[in-house]
Amino acid sequence: MSAATTRRRLDIKSFLANNGALVGLVVLCLALWAATPRFLTGPNLLNVGIQVSTIAVMAFGLTFVIVAAGIDLSVGSVAALSAMVSAYWVGDLALPGAWSIVVGLAVGALCGLVTGVMSAYGKLPTFIASLAMLTIVRGLTLVISDGRPIPTSDSVAFLGSSLGPVPMPIVVMVVTGLIAAFVLNRTVVGKNAFAVGGNIEAARLSGIPVKRVLVTVFVISGLFAGLAGMLLAGRLESAQPTLATGYELDAIAATVIGGASLAGGVGRITGTLIGALVLAVIRNGLNLLSVSSFWQQVVIGVVIALAVGFDVLRRKNVRH
């Protein structure tokens, strides 16, 4: 029994050690709870849940790329293109709506494939390959839509709606989060991503198909970005050509706040979720507190630094 307790305590400890920003998040929530009674209410927490979903889903996929020591700047644009094509599919092409989600996912995966091939086989640094995709994909979104919003299909709108009291975006986020965590930790694809990001030379010498791994993580990233785009469009019931502009920075930040290293080899889906929550909670809290929008930006920056700073501090204490 005592052994079990120790084991459990150890697990909590290692959970904390692995999910650093959690402390930052908890402190942040406590501070907000103290500052405003509006924060810790059911409806508001649901709001936060819905609001975090897009970035979280996007960042889940991105975590694979970052674990493999790459970076994917195209996720925001890919989200927009997926949403747009899936809307166009039913709108202008008048095709069956249920397929629109599949089409959107396929578009995301295809974009990821192109980025992955450019960097794995074309030997472009992932920063450049995905930057090129960022602008290409945004351009295509504008071309397809002629710069105008298109209403989404009912299936996509369903993604943004509520199932009884449960908002679909939260359901989608939880389900895809579990899938992402499973794939990252329990499958060969995930392990290989860690190996490639941790030491690409060792991975190659161990017979891991490094290029295929790189392509795969980008396809995963594209898939999740596509889904995130449809989630967002579903909430807005329309796909905007400017959808998710600049979201890549938030998604990368969520991943890094959650403990992933841009140098590769480190990253966790739970961490990424916490990172995304940190960002969403700050924004929500600042709105609740009616902080002036200029000062909001200042505060957001300070809080990001503090949230990650807590983590660093805590990790230092654990070590010695």
């Binding site: 329990r186 499958t187 060969v188 694809v189 392990k191 290989n192 860690f194 190996a195 941790g198 030491n199 030379e201 060792a202 991975a203 190659r204 010498l205 161990s206 017979g207 891991i208 198909p209 080899g265 480190v266 010695h320």
Partner: protein, 511 residues
């Protein structure tokens, strides 16, 4: 010799750009025999085996397996032919666990899902063959370099290959692990596995080898039996004979000279309390088993790691803890254990790598003394006979032993008075070792001192003036060099210095 080699390299050549590093070399590997490759640093041994491992493609010649010509474009192809390779440089993923590393590239799976239990079982079994007792869930990066080397060996062994290639597997190991490794090698021999073995420890060749192929400057020189006398092997390899492998010239400090390095009651987690003194002109060796704490002690002294209490003084001045820059400024130089991770900037040039410790001290108004830096680097490279195309070549493309010489050269160039050396001759050939030893003599003759951790007992006995033996993080005893023997060192090394506490076994919990 037998008629049917398992593997044959036939008239193999290799060039990198315009530089040809292997010329028409032919080598055979027979089942149940250990083929030794012998040669100076940069002779081409690693390059040769990398062509078998699927890392490099030969520029000329053929590779035959079971008499049939094969192409080996990558590691997978090599493995498919039944070849397993332990490379000279560690190829592990530090952030992944021991079990994950051992099964890297062939993770046991079912429908793509990892079978963790099997993964751990494979890893435990592999570790057992080599006698390494670590938790398979430990991240590899948390292990010292010796244990990492053993993990690497275990990984290759677990492939159950027909042909096993071992590129300096013993360089980072102490006597007991080497013994365990050789037991495995003998067992594999009995089972008909053909092996290629590379080492700069000549005594190991007679012990484990069968045929010796000597290379010089990428050319085949001779094939001789493994029991050939060491002096003859050296002559074949270096092209001249070496009269004294350990040319130590003690340079005792004048009476009353102040102590150079004074350590009192230093403690860090798992280490100490340790007190020791090193006097001008002295070479003090730190001996011990793997994990005895030698590396950690040196790192604390160099400012690379923090310590919890105690005091370190250099020539009477207290050294700020955990501050390498302060230590360097006080004339302390530190050759770390792991040249690749801690010693070198692999993509920088040889000259730059040699010069890192002197960039600031030789600068003027913040400007780098570029000419001087190159001159000093060239001079020390020449003295240490670093084999290279040019001093501006990236150090990554140098052979392992030559890289090691460059790290040593950095601190010689810096004129350090207190040299902390951690396995300073790891992977260095016999000839170049002598050069390093002579530089050590020069430093001590100049009033400097050396504290050297080494797992190479002949080196400890041959070069040290005093020997401190460590065990379980403490100094178990001191032996004067004149009377010490390998046995007396080992006796102290296995002694239990923590008698008052429960028996120390850091990994006991996992058993």
């Amino acid at each position: 010799m037998q008629a049917n080699p398992l593997l044959r390299l036939e008239k193999i050549s290799k060039s990198f750009g315009h530089v040809q590093v292997i010329h028409d070399v032919t080598v055979d590997v027979h089942p149940g025999r250990v083929t030794v490759l012998l040669g100076e640093n940069g002779a081409g041994k690693s390059t040769l085996i990398k062509m078998i491992a699927g890392v490099h493609a030969p520029s000329g010649g053929r590779i035959l397996v079971d008499g049939a010509e094969v192409r080996i474009p990558d590691t997978k192809a090599s493995e498919a032919l039944g070849i397993a390779t332990i490379h000279q440089e560690l190829n592990l993923v530090p952030s992944m666990t021991v079990a994950e590393n051992i099964t890297l590239g062939r993770t046991p799976r079912r429908f793509g899902v990892i079978n963790r239990r099997r993964m751990r079982a494979i890893a435990r079994e592999a570790l057992a063959t080599i006698g390494l007792d670590v938790d398979v869930d430990t991240p590899v990066g948390d292990l010292g370099i010796a244990r990492q080397q053993l993990v690497e060996i275990a990984k290759a062994l677990s492939l159950d290959a027909r042909i096993l290639i071992l590129d300096e597997p013993t360089a980072a190991l102490t006597t007991s692990e080497i013994k365990a490794l050789f037991d495995v090698v003998r067992d594999l021999k009995a089972r008909g596995v053909g092996m290629v073995f590379i080492s700069h420890h000549l005594d190991e060749i007679a012990e484990i080898g069968d045929d010796v192929n000597v290379l010089r400057d990428g050319e085949f020189v001779a094939r001789v039996p493994a029991d050939t006398h060491e002096d003859e092997l050296i002559r074949l390899m270096v092209g001249r004979s070496i009269d004294k492998q350990f040319p130590r010239e003690p340079s005792p400090a004048p009476a009353g000279a102040p102590v150079q390095l004074d350590v009192s009651a230093l403690e860090a987690p798992g280490l100490g309390p340790i007190s020791l003194q090193v006097r001008p002109g002295e070479v003090v060796a730190l001996a011990g088993l793997m994990g005895a704490g030698r590396t950690e002690l040196l790192r604390c002294l160099a400012g690379a790691d923090a310590y919890t209490s105690g005091r370190v003084e250099v020539r009477g001045e207290r050294l700020a803890p955990y501050d390498v820059a302060a230590a360097t400024a006080a004339g302390v130089g530190h050759v770390p254990e792991d040249r690749k991770m801690q010693g070198l900037v692999l993509d920088a040039s040889v000259a730059e790598n040699i010069g890192y410790a002197t960039v600031r001290s030789t600068s003027r108004f913040g400007l780098v003394d570029r000419k001087g830096q190159r001159r000093r680097a060239s001079a020390v490279a020449e003295r240490l006979r670093i084999r290279m195309d040019s001093i501006d070549q990236p150090i990554r493309s140098l052979s392992g032993g030559n890289q090691q010489k460059a790290v040593f050269g950095r601190w010689f160039t810096a004129g350090s008075k207190v040299l902390l050396l951690d396995e300073p001759t790891r992977g260095v050939d016999v000839g170049a070792k002598v050069e390093i030893y002579e530089l050590i003599n020069e430093i001590t003759a100049d009033g400097g001192c050396v504290l050297m951790a080494s797992s190479d007992l002949p080196e400890v006995l041959g070069m040290a003036d005093r020997i401190l033996v460590m065990s379980q993080g403490r100094i178990a005893g001191e032996l004067p060099a004149e009377s010490a023997t390998q046995d007396s060192i080992m006796q102290l090394a296995v002694s239990n210095v923590n008698r008052d506490e429960e028996p120390a076994n850091p990994q006991g919990a996992t058993a």
